[in-house]
C-alpha cells in the first residue's frame, strides 16, 4: 500500500502565550479521501491546518505528506504538495489582478513562460472564472472571491487540498456552486468547517476535534447522526436537518 496522503503523529503545539492549541494529534488520511474536520471554535482546527504545510512548526510530533516527512529541507516541496485555502479570501488574494494572483504560487515553485500561463488558464477554468482574469479581486463578489482563492491554490496542483470554512459568508447559490467545483477535484481534501450539512455533502469521513485532541473519527453519516457526541462538543445540525447513518 502506498504511503498515506497525510500522516500526523503525536503533534503538539503551544502558542507563545502558553495556550496549548494541539495536544497530541494522530491522523492518517488516505490519498483521494475527503475528510471533514469539525469542532467548536478554538478547538485547534486551523492550527492543525497550518501545521500540514509547515507554516507553523510543531513543538513535538511529526507530519508527513505522501511519505515525505516535513522538515526544513522538504519544506518547499511540502508546501507545493499541500494547498491551503484560507477562510477570508481577502487574506489570500493580494495581487492587483486575479491572473497575477493565480500565477503567484506556481511562479514561486519555479514555473515560467507558457507552462505558467497554461497553469493559470487551467486553474481559472476549473473555477469558471476565465473571463475575470484581469479583474482586481477587490471588485469581485464574495462567491467569486472564494472561488478565486481556490484557483490560486489549485494552480499549484497540490496533492492535498485544505480548506478553512469554505462555505462561510456565501449565499446559498455560491455555496452550492463551490460544492460542485470541489466535487470535481480529485485531490485529497481536508475541509475545516462548522457547516455540518456541507461536510455531509462533500466528505466521506468526519473527524471531530476539541481542546487540541481528536475526539471522534468515523464515517460522516455516523459522526453526524450521533447527537450526543455532537452536543458534547458544541456542534449541532441546523434546525430540521437530519443525516442518516450510512
Amino acid at each position: 500500500m502506498s504511503a498515506p496522503a497525510v500522516q500526523v503523529r503525536g503533534l503538539r503545539y503551544t502558542y507563545p502565550d502558553g495556550h496549548i492549541a494541539l495536544d497530541g494529534i494522530d491522523l492518517d488520511v488516505a490519498a483521494g479521501e475527503r475528510v471533514a474536520l469539525l469542532g467548536p471554535n478554538g478547538a485547534g482546527k486551523t492550527t492543525l491546518m497550518l501545521h500540514l504545510n509547515g507554516v507553523l512548526t510543531a513543538s513535538a510530533g511529526s507530519v508527513a505528506i505522501g511519505g515525505t516527512a516535513l522538515s526544513r529541507s522538504t519544506l518547499r516541496d511540502v508546501r507545493r504538495r499541500v494547498g491551503l485555502v484560507f477562510q477570508d479570501p481577502d487574506d489570500q488574494l493580494f495581487m492587483p489582478t486575479l491572473a497575477q494572483d493565480v500565477a503567484f504560487g506556481p511562479a514561486n515553485f519555479g514555473l515560467r513562460g507558457e507552462q505558467l500561463a497554461e497553469r493559470v488558464r487551467h486553474a481559472l477554468e476549473v473555477v469558471s472564472m476565465t473571463e475575470l482574469a484581469d479583474r482586481s479581486p477587490a471588485h469581485m463578489s464574495g462567491g467569486q472571491r472564494r472561488r478565486a482563492a481556490l484557483a490560486t491554490v489549485l494552480a499549484c496542483e497540490p496533492e492535498v487540498l485544505v480548506l478553512d470554512e469554505p462555505s462561510a459568508n456565501l449565499d446559498p447559490v455560491a455555496r452550492r456552486e463551490l460544492a460542485q467545483t470541489l466535487t470535481t477535484l480529485e485531490s485529497t481534501m481536508l475541509i475545516v468547517t462548522h457547516d455540518l450539512p456541507y461536510a455531509a455533502q462533500l466528505c466521506d469521513r468526519a473527524i471531530v476535534m476539541d481542546r487540541g485532541v481528536i475526539v471522534a473519527d468515523g464515517a460522516v453519516g455516523e459522526v453526524l447522526s450521533d447527537a450526543e457526541l455532537l452536543a458534547a462538543h458544541r456542534l449541532e445540525l441546523p434546525w430540521g436537518f437530519t443525516v442518516a447513518p450510512r
Partner: protein, 259 residues
Amino acid sequence: MGAGHSHPLYRDGDSPVHRLPGEVKIVCLVVFVLAVVATPRELFWPFGLFALILLATWWVARIPLRWMLPRMLIEVPFVVLAVLLPFAEGGERVTVAGVELSVVGLYAAWGIVAKGTLGVAASLTVAATTTARELPIALSRLRVPGVIVSVLTLMIRYIDVLAAEARRMRMARISRGDSPRMAHQIGATAKGVGSLFLRSYERGERVYLAMLSRGFDGQIPPMAVGAGCAIAASSRQWALALVPATAAVVVTISAWMVR
C-alpha cells in the same frame, strides 16, 4: 484591458499614452516634475509652455479637460498656505487694489501654485492612463528593490479592504449612538483607530501565512507580477514617451539661459 478598474483616478481608454508601459510614464513624470521645479519662478512664460505640453499630452491620451479639472481640486488644501505668503512676507511692497502685498511673497505664492498645479496635473495624467496592476511591474523594471515593490503592491490591494473595514466600524459605532463629530467622543474614535491598526496587523500576518503557503520566499516572482501586463518598453516607446519630458527639460534650460 482594464475591465473592472473603477478607480476614480483611472480613465479607461486605448490611446497611445494608455498603451505605453508604466515604467516610461513614471520616468517621464519624474523628469517633467524635476524640470518644472528647477525653473526660476520669476519667469512666467516657461510655465505656460509646461501647461501646453500637458494639454498636448491630454489631447493624445484623449482625456477631456472637464474630466481632469475636478480631480485637480485635490491640491487645494496644499495651496492654501501659498495664499497667505503675499501678506506674511516682508521686503519690497506693491499695492494691488488697495491692499499692500509683498513682492517676494507674491513670487513665492505664484511659484508654489504654478509648480504645484503642474505637478498634480502631470501625476494625474500618469494615474489616468496607468492601471494599478501595471505599477508593480513598472517599478520592478525600473530596478526598484523588490521589498518596496511588494510593499506597494500590498498597499494598492489592501487600502480598499482597510477603508471598507474602517467604514464598517464607523457604521457600527454610529448605530450605537456615537456621533463622531462631537469632541467628547473623540476617545471612541481614537480607540477605533487603535483597533483598526490591530486588525490590519493581524490581517497582515494572515496574508503573509497565505503567501508562505504558496511558496513565497521573500521575493514576488516577476513572472507573476507581469501576468497580463504590457511587455517591457521598447526603445521606440522610450523615445516616444520621453518627448514631453525632453520638451520640459528644453524649456527649463532655455529659461535659465534667458534669465
